[in-house]
């Protein structure tokens, strides 16, 4: 009797689970069908490319999740593709010359690529959709919006900022009994001299200072020059303005750090220089112009260094405290017939919580004010510093198509050669700078031919 009952129950359990299973199967088939059906009727998928940020795995998963949510909401499916940073520039160059392009993408260097693409290829202005973003000017930082405007046209939504502040080893500072981070150029020299250490053979075991973190060495020059009161070009982007006292001040400062005070690695400007391992090992005491993504990375990958490093504002120069900021934006590519869908996707991504997600995962500061006010960007001391640094951030993108060539961190480029000749080779400053001024003007003229 008992036995029968058990068997019976088992059977009915079985039946129920079979029923449930087939129900799931049917519904899911229905869902799949219903999502395929409109896709067949009208191709409703867009191709979206991004560079890779932060932890590659996490980045891809994040975009996938956002795309799934977006598809559930709108029925538009997003095909995401990651571009390797090492070929990103070549890829966008090819795209701007008519190569295979996505519908929309995460891009940078708008001025160059839109000039190269002309009316046919490359970034596409979307002026008529600008109004779809409510309170654009209030919600986003002003500087970031400058980066998506070129010759009066609106090209997309800025989504990431790359803010540089100052990073230093608190353990080295404490050991030497130094109170806080340097606040001025002079203090940089004093502290760096104190913290530089050499062994009995003269090998440096700890460098007191490094110009900056990114492998882009030209990006180090920008803030020093600004802080000395200089501008690279006139507002219309047609005239180069680098032959002046400010440039002499900036380059002298950099050169003296390397050769007179001997606190900077003379190999800093070579292609294979990377200050990160040195900083992690405590062999570099402080670095100016440190990307905020270092904070995220150090938190995530080097918890054992907790308490041994801190960030602070870039020390003040003779004139001001301007610091470097780069950025990237979401934009539409010419040649797509899905502008509406792209704009919808971009709108979705630029909502507050999604922008917060992108910012958190990529480690880049957000271009939205509310995201920067959120808890995530205030729960660690270094994040508070980054938030403050935003006040001093100045865009590194100049309104001239030739700027990316002028500022390329590559031997042969105008600013790199100038820095190299003045700082590393210690050539005559006046000659170096006037040569650079002439070359830079020629580059600007190149892109202004009518």
């Amino acid at each position: 009797m008992d036995k029968m009952l058990k068997l019976d129950r088992a059977r009915s359990d079985l039946m129920r689970s079979v029923a449930r299973g087939s129900l799931v199967a049917i519904t899911s088939a229905g869902v799949t069908l219903s999502s395929i059906a409109p896709a067949l009727a009208q191709d409703n998928s867009i191709e979206f490319w991004t560079q890779s940020y932060g932890d590659a795995l996490q980045w891809n998963a994040t975009i996938r999740d956002l795309a799934a949510e977006f598809e559930a909401e709108t029925g538009i499916s997003v095909q995401h593709e990651t571009i390797n940073w090492s070929v990103a520039f070549d890829t966008w160059l090819t795209v701007s010359r008519g190569g295979a392009a996505p519908d929309c993408a995460d891009m940078y260097w708008l001025h160059s690529f839109s000039a190269i693409g002309g009316d046919q290829y490359g970034p596409m202005p979307i002026n008529e959709y600008r109004d779809q973003w409510e309170n654009l000017d209030e919600n986003f930082f002003e500087g970031s919006l400058q980066d998506v405007t070129w010759q009066g046209d609106f090209y997309g939504i800025p989504w990431r900022g790359d803010i540089r502040s100052f990073i230093y080893r608190t353990d080295a500072f404490a050991e030497a009994g130094i109170e806080g981070p340097p606040e001025t150029w002079d203090e940089i020299v004093d502290i760096a001299t104190e913290l530089t250490e050499r062994d009995e053979n003269g090998n440096v075991t700890r460098w007191g200072y490094a110009y900056g973190t990114a492998t882009n060495s030209v990006s180090w020059l920008l803030p020093y020059y600004w802080q000395a009161g200089g501008d690279f070009m006139t507002e219309d982007g047609r005239t180069a303005t680098i032959d002046n006292e400010a440039m002499r001040t900036a380059l002298t400062f950099m050169r003296d750090l390397m050769w007179e005070h001997e606190v900077v690695d003379p190999d800093s400007m070579e292609a294979n220089y990377d200050p990160q391992p040195g900083f992690l090992a405590g062999d570099i005491a402080m670095i100016n112009s440190a990307e905020q993504s270092w904070g995220v990375e150090l938190d995530r990958d080097y918890p054992q260094l907790e308490g041994q490093w801190a960030m602070s504002l870039t020390p003040e120069g003779p004139e001001n405290r301007d610091s470097f900021s780069g950025g990237g934006y979401l934009g539409v590519l010419r040649g797509t017939d899905k502008v509406e869908q792209c704009v919808e996707w971009m709108e979705f991504l630029s909502q507050e919580d999604n922008m917060a997600t992108l910012s958190r995962v990529s480690g880049n500061v957000s271009t939205r004010r509310d995201v920067m006010d959120s808890e995530f960007w205030n729960d660690r001391p270094w994040k508070v510093v980054v938030g403050e640094a935003l006040e001093y951030a100045r865009t590194s993108q100049h309104p001239a198509p030739a700027w990316s060539a002028i500022a390329a961190p590559e031997p042969g480029a105008v600013l790199y050669d100038m820095m190299y000749d003045a700082v590393v080779r210690q050539q005559d400053l006046d000659e170096v700078i006037s040569r650079a001024q002439e070359r830079m003007q020629a580059e600007l003229d190149r892109s202004n031919v009518q």
Partner: protein, 300 residues
Amino acid sequence: MERDKLIFCYVMVAPALILTVGLGIYPMLASMVMSFQLYDLLQINAVGTPFVGFENYIAVFQDPRFVQTIVNTVLFTIIAVVVSIAMGLFLSQVINANFKGRAVLRTLVFVPWFVPPVVASAIWMWLLQTERSPINHALQSMGLIDTDIRFLTDPSTFGPFSIPMMAVAAVRVWNGLPVIIIFLLAGLQSIPKGLYEAAEIDGASIMQKFWFVTLPMLRPVMSVLLALLVMNGLGQFEINYIMTRGGPQNLTNIMAVYSYQQAFMFFRFDYAAAASGVILLMTSVVCIFYVRAQSKDTLR
């Protein structure tokens, strides 16, 4: 019958011809045409691509960096070719000899072939980075040096040579060695044993055998190898670009890197094409010498 033969010939050679023209000749011609045009991506939408004669060539030759780059390219090629052939001759002799463990040694010697240039450059960069270089640490702990060698960054020069040039050349040799060894090995095995036996009967020393038997018999392989190595060497790009970008102070810059930078960094496809044109000119000279040497050989 004659017609059949012709049809057969053309059908057989057609696929090769089509691919050679499409992926070899056409890009080459396109690049040569470009070297006589104004082809600046930043101006192209405004002014198009008018012909400008030799202006691009004049422009690159007026760039002192380019002139130094030509010298570097030639030096790099000579160093890499001489050192790798010398090493190749030694290594191929050794692994051609009969001894225990030859198969293992042979495989070990060929391992660099399977490490792609991109990966090889990355690992070598790690090994040659001044502070973390295990080579520096090993040398220091053996007491051979006091201060770290700045393999890739020391700008002091000895005539046209420098430490970074040697370091990058060493990586290029490393990367190219297996192919050279395999060619030389093939060459060695094609030498009839009788020749050595005859030489031995005449009382030849090992030196004399190398000089009077091995080297002359290797002549045909060596000429093919030389031509190949010189032509590839003049157009080499990857290793120099990844490891140094041509620095420090342009000491390791070579023509293909210069050309790449002009096109992909500065948008000057015309200058890039002119630089390639100069490379083409140099490789053509080598090629002509090679073909003439070959035809002399055949006549003999």
